[in-house]
């Protein structure tokens, strides 16, 4: 038994989720007017940025793997 997702599967999932969250966080931002969506928008933005950073980290790991001679 092993976890069926590879590192790159998780990276892809992170990218997609971060994208969805970033766009959502921007669209419901109070700077565009008070939206009726009753959620903690600041927290949503934090999560979106965290996921985005995690995805970028996976990209950095990939780059590191490419440039490091085996």
């Amino acid at each position: 038994m092993q976890f069926p997702l590879s590192f790159w599967d998780v990276s892809l999932w992170l990218a997609l989720t971060a994208l969805i969250l970033l766009i959502t966080a921007e669209l419901i931002s109070p700077y565009y007017g008070q939206s009726s969506l009753q959620i903690k928008k600041g927290r949503l933005k934090t999560v979106a940025f965290t996921l985005c950073l995690l995805f970028l980290l996976t990209v950095l790991i990939r780059i590191f793997e490419i440039i490091t001679p085996t």
Binding site: M1, Q2, F3, P4, L5, D9, V10, W13, T17, S29, P30, Y31, G33, Q34, Q38, I39, K40, K41, G42, R43, L44, V47
Partner: protein, 446 residues
């Protein structure tokens, strides 16, 4: 006397829980069947080949995946039934029915894939050297029949639950003679599950995600892993971003009105002609508190440092009264949100941080602008949520002139703390369309 009891939530919940357990049992028996194919059959001449194995694995993983989805949607449907028990909303009833239908379809697809798999075992495997024997066949048929039987049983129970939900016609009622009385037949169920629907959905999503993730590891299915990961993540995220409690704005306005009237009465009763001055912390014993002084005469000096006592109402030297500002609690809330006390900040800090706090963090205004010129601080606020309270304050002329509305008062408290100087609300104007409020504060020199 006629009693209509058509929607028995407990019965339906128990039935659906049984459906999930039966489906899980069905998946469990499939693993035994799989052991027969991948273990026993090799002893009866079966030769391994990727041609049949690839197809077999694909069908088995698809079957298990659909079975897992069927269990998942049944679980989610249970959550919606709980919401329905609490809210009586037709939407949740409709969604729960839809999910149950989806569960039946998923079970059907799962059975279809099992039939395809059975065809491989009973036809294709003979081409790869398998010899028929009752020894393995009896075992195989027993597991297959158990599996399909349980799947059918689970589907039947789901259909019964669906019929029970569709046949329900709440609210429950007792008709005694000509009078009708609505009753709560299951107050305990309603009380137990009287948690927020959002929290319920979050918990269901999260736990379903964890279960599916576990299944994905067990079945080595990446599709299930993606589904499980997403469910777990979204469940946790929804829980994290859901606000603690929402109160309608009308409620806030209603609670404020009486206090405003009382304050106006105090101002009128004490015959005060001076303007209200928000005292800086150095005048007070408690630096984190705020106090305002209203003098009896129009032009009068401020009280001296030692003569200010928070508990006192009347002041004799000079004549006037001490009052707790109506915006004190609000200003403390601003401090809490900013994570600092205004006493530790300055005017530049307020100018920089207040717009972000009001617009982005607390969402109480649509836009805000803070300008400082000499001793005058001008704040321009557009579309703030205290509009109605401020409107109410304007009806009380004395209160409006000297103290201002809750928001103006809260900002004055913040300014007094940040600048360390007495603050007076110079002017408060509203634009013609009523959207923008302009407040001018005067920083007084002692």
């Amino acid at each position: 006397m006629k009693i209509r009891i058509l929607f028995r939530s407990e019965v339906i919940l128990v039935l659906l829980l049984a459906v999930i357990m039966i489906n899980a049992l069905s998946a469990f028996f499939f693993t035994f069947l799989d052991h027969v194919v991948h273990g026993d059959l090799y002893r009866y001449g079966l030769q391994f080949n990727y041609e049949w194995a690839g197809q077999y694995w694909a069908y088995s993983s698809l079957m298990i995946s659909f079975l897992a989805i069927a269990m998942l949607v049944t679980g989610i449907s249970m959550a919606f039934i709980l919401i329905y028990t609490r809210t009586r909303g037709t939407g949740s009833r409709f969604v729960s029915c839809l999910l149950l239908i989806m569960g039946i379809v998923m079970s059907g697809i799962s059975a279809f894939f099992f039939n395809r798999l059975d065809y491989i075992v009973n036809n294709d495997l003979y081409k790869y050297g398998l010899q028929f024997s009752y020894e393995w066949a009896v075992q195989y048929w027993a597991y297959a029949k158990l599996m399909l039987g349980l799947l059918g049983f689970a589907t039947a129970i789901t259909v019964i639950s669906l019929v029970l939900i569709l046949a329900s016609k709440p609210p429950y009622e007792i008709v005694v003679g000509k009078s009708r009385h609505e009753i709560q037949l299951f107050p305990r169920t309603r009380a137990i599950f009287k948690i927020g629907s959002t929290k319920l959905i979050c918990s269901v999503l999260f736990s379903a995600g964890v279960i599916v993730l576990g299944f994905s590891i067990y079945c080595t299915s990446s599709i299930l892993a993606f589904i499980g990961l997403s469910f777990t993540f979204w469940g946790a995220l929804l829980f994290y971003i859901t606000p603690s409690k929402q109160v309608p704005l009308e409620l806030l306005n209603a609670t404020a009105t009486s206090n405003l009237t009382n304050m106006e009465k105090i101002l009128m009763g004490c015959n005060l002609n001076g303007k209200c001055i928000y005292l800086p912390p150095k005048y007070l014993r408690d630096f984190e508190s705020s106090l305002m002084f209203i003098s009896s005469k129009a032009e009068q000096a401020l009280p001296k440092f030692g003569e200010v006592e928070e508990e006192k109402f009347y002041s004799t030297n000079p004549d006037g009264i001490f009052l707790t500002p109506p915006g004190l609690a609000l200003s403390k809330l601003f401090e809490k949100e900013l994570g600092t006390s205004f006493t530790k900040t300055d005017l530049n800090y307020l100018q920089e941080k207040l717009p972000k706090l009001f617009i982005e963090d607390m969402e109480i205004v649509e836009s805000m602008n803070v300008e400082t010129e000499n001793n005058i601080v001008t704040m321009e606020i557009t579309n703030h949520i205290f509009k109605d309270v401020c409107e109410e304050t304007r009806k009380h002329s004395k209160l409006h002139e000297s103290i201002g509305c809750s928001l103006c008062s809260a900002l004055a408290c913040a300014l007094a703390k940040a600048t360390g100087k007495p603050i007076m609300i110079e002017r408060e104007e509203q634009s013609r369309d009523g959207k923008t409020t302009k407040i001018q504060y005067n920083i007084l020199e002692e």
